[in-house]
Symmetry: C2
Subunit: 512 residues, 2 copies
């Protein structure tokens, strides 16, 4: 949920140790009673860095909290603006904060991500405080953790094909040559790259051979390697969709690249402005199902971006995160098929199987492949190979296709139920992005996004607003952008879906 | 094997495209016929970077090749020394070269590491050229790839417990809660951290709890995270053993830290000089079995380094890479037990099971743990969790202990046979480092290291010299260091060991 930390009255400086003022508030930080301890060794900037870091570490500044602009905080604290900007920059580099170009610095997501289910009994080693503190009377409170999770990020993890995966693992381990248990090829196991080349050609229209595929431990690891390669090639900036996942954009920032947001509309990302940005050497796109708006990239736009890349020598980074899930029968191939020499195609098992696997792949133009392999050759980027063998076996045995087909059917049924329920009970809400993927967007009347999220929260529903993914430096869009909530209907377990739908309908603003 | 690229006559500049002069030479680069193409866009420095990168990429400069000093190359090319130094620096940053402080820049190891066995039939997707070119008459040549590998880096990968591991994977997958298939805790699965805390206390004397353990995808990934944390804490330099594995040291360089080599002698690393180095905030040690000399860190030295850390607030990074393999019954606990608040203990499955797993762990002081977790929270550092569950099950079921015991017995038998064979057939060769680990050092008469390596090469034996691991900026050692070869007797498969011993004995210099 979006949290904005108002600047005025948000901060008080103090030489005393910070009091845990905001504890016990269910994660909402008002800021008014937050103290920054600016005492201690070093200059003003070091003190500010320390104080902010402590506030984040202690939880007083909750993940997602938006910080005041450097100008505004500098005014409040009587510091030079650069001092605050530098402190922010350092904390971004350290990973405590995330920056979106211009304004919009916020506290990074917490290290421990989304504990959506209680720990397995017998495995709980977190000694000390009990898991939940007893409710001590008082007013009725929303559930401490949501009953249902409709946030994007994972598919239905309860559907992981445990038995089939274990069987594939056993077969792969039995068949593996001894050398598979050594360090192996930095690009990944040839068995997996071969299986992927065949699968991606068949399922996604990708044109490649195993030599140009590099297996990584997740999409973001691939992006990080690619960001370093781009930077060393002299690229200064990467164009990103003005609605998108900032954690992906921040990978480029950590690689020393600027972010250049480009508009997104009902036909997807619009690259026509890029010709004026000579510093942009690459563009990151989600062509199959724009994240988060859900629209597929229009054919004219596909041609336009391929032409831009051909004309300028730029690279297109295609994030095909849920390309396997399209429901209207008109399978749209990967953009990579249009321009295999200019597109870096990125895929992952995170949505089709589970993010717990940490397996992803990049299909690269030949020259880029060589540089990515080189970058990946330092030991800290090695990817485990046993699960690569398992995935290769899982694909070649047909189990992967079966699983994707089964999940596609299941997700499609959920989508149909969601769309039908909305049509019946909330016909004033427009649903977009329904042709593919694992989420849709519900367009809301202007000004109702935050109240809808609040209502969902009280219904025990974890939901995200569209504005959460709006790039703060997005050009050519109405201020604040459109209102909407993202419904990741792929996330909940199947048996919970009826309850999810009811809670969602209760959260939406009434007609008129 | 060590390759030195002589400076004089080593380079000729040319405006013509480089000819693949050194191809077909079995990887030995003489340099005399190597051309650097310095034409093309950009300045002299850019041209040099491009030419060297191309030479490495094309294989004309083989992995491990030592480059001339920047001063010497600058003289040969008629450039300013800084131009060459900058070009080297850039290529180190890109991963094409590795730098050891001062002199000693060399070509990085090739991306594809050690294909020690032929590819599995049916899985070979490398189309194009046949795997081996037909031998076309001419003089007798050494084998194109070694018959036996005695280089350090992996244990006996043919002994990976495939059946037991597959069974543990099945049990772990069956028992896992649904949330295990989500993104999960950045520190790693609590099941594994709990199992490790118990195991490390019992087997290695480590004092910890699961909260202070962070699971990583390999030792070097942990080092990279730690390097970033140290740098942000203000540490400028890390002390490293003057004999050690430069790839580990280079991780710190990439994190922006200097390397400060400290002497190694018969009692291990000597930290007494560190008090004069106020820029050193941490020291990387291999206390159980110094790599590569094989000596355990003497108790007095253990105390001394713990005192240094306590006195200065420095951190000790303990690389316990083969701590499980000690043969004389006098199990020596981890250094961490002496100073749990000052030691970062690092362990891995790479030697005990297989490097293909990419699973490692760091046991951290509480304050460092929080910062490492924060650094690991950006998505590119996530570690897969399914294999963590398998390893947890493997440990708690007792299978890990059984495997380590069985391998310890097997390695001990090999060591005994090696030591006995040397005593009988080469009594003039002294063997050191025999009490633990997976390798020993054979001390050689001065000036015989290179010829021994060459003889081993002709015997089909891949072997490494001690000088390969000598830090180029090592102080207080005789120039060139002692002569010796490292015999990683843990690496070959069991059934090949008699042949390995015979070939090794034939490679050693005669007495007198």
């Amino acid at each position: 949920m979006e949290k904005t930390w108002a600047t005025s009255a948000a901060l008080a400086t103090s030489a005393a140790p910070a009091a845990p003022a905001a504890s016990g508030r269910g994660g909402t930080v008002s800021g008014a009673d937050l103290h920054l301890d600016l005492s201690g060794p070093g200059g003003v900037r070091a003190a500010l860095v320390r104080a902010l870091r402590d506030a984040v570490r202690s939880g007083r500044l909750a993940p997602g909290t938006r910080l005041p602009s450097s100008r505004s905080l500098a005014g409040d604290l009587g510091m030079a603006r650069n001092t605050v900007a530098d402190a922010y920059g350092e904390l971004v580099a350290e990973g405590w904060l995330t920056a979106r170009q211009g304004s919009g610095t916020r506290v990074a997501q917490a290290p421990a991500v989304r504990p959506t289910a209680p720990a397995r009994s017998g495995s709980a080693a977190r000694s000390g405080s009990p898991a939940r503190s007893a409710s001590a009377g008082g007013p009725v409170r929303p559930p401490a953790r949501p009953l249902h999770d409709l946030r994007t990020g994972t598919a239905d993890i309860s559907s992981f094909p445990r038995t089939a995966w274990a069987a594939a693992a056993r077969r792969a381990l039995t068949a593996a040559p001894n050398e598979a248990f050594g360090y192996g090829d930095v690009r990944g196991r040839v068995e997996l790259r071969t299986a992927l080349a065949e699968y991606l050609a068949r399922a996604r229209g990708v044109r490649t051979d195993p030599e140009r595929i590099v297996v990584c431990a997740g999409f973001m690891q691939g992006l990080a390697l690619l960001g370093g390669v781009l930077r060393r090639r002299g690229t200064r900036a990467v164009a990103v969709e003005s609605y998108g996942f900032w954690e992906h954009h921040d990978v480029f920032t950590r690689a020393g690249l600027r972010q250049a947001p480009i508009p997104v509309d009902g036909r997807g990302a619009d690259v026509t402005g890029l010709d004026e940005r000579r510093d942009v050497g690459a563009v990151l796109l989600t062509p199959a199902h724009q994240f988060p708006t859900g629209v597929p990239l229009h054919p004219d736009r596909r041609t336009a971006v391929a032409e831009w890349a051909g004309r300028t020598g730029g690279l297109i980074v295609e994030d095909d995160y849920d390309g396997e899930f399209r429901y209207d029968g008109r399978q749209v191939g990967a953009l990579q098929g249009l321009a295999p020499d200019r597109v870096v195609y990125c895929g992952t098992t995170s949505k089709s199987l589970t993010p717990a696997l940490r397996l992803s792949w990049m299909v690269l133009p030949e020259d880029v492949a060589a540089e990515v392999v080189r970058a990946k050759s330092t030991g800290e980027w090695r990817t485990g190979t046993l699960e690569q063998l398992t995935l290769a076996e899982f694909i070649t045995s047909g189990a992967y296709d079966r699983h994707v087909r089964s999940m596609r059917l299941r997700y499609r049924r959920r989508r149909d139920r969601l769309v039908a329920a909305l049509a019946e009970h909330a016909p004033h809400i427009r649903v977009t992005g329904i042709a593919a993927g694992l989420h849709v967007v519900l367009e809301l009347p202007p000004g109702t996004e935050q109240s809808t999220l609040q209502a969902a929260h009280w219904q025990g529903l974890a939901l995200e607003g569209l504005s959460r993914y709006r790039h703060s430096a997005a050009p050519a869009l109405p201020p604040g952008g459109p209102d909407g909530v993202i419904v990741a209907y792929g996330t909940p377990a199947d048996h919970t879906f009826p309850g999810v739908l009811e809670a969602l309908l209760r959260s939406l603003p009434p007609a008129g």
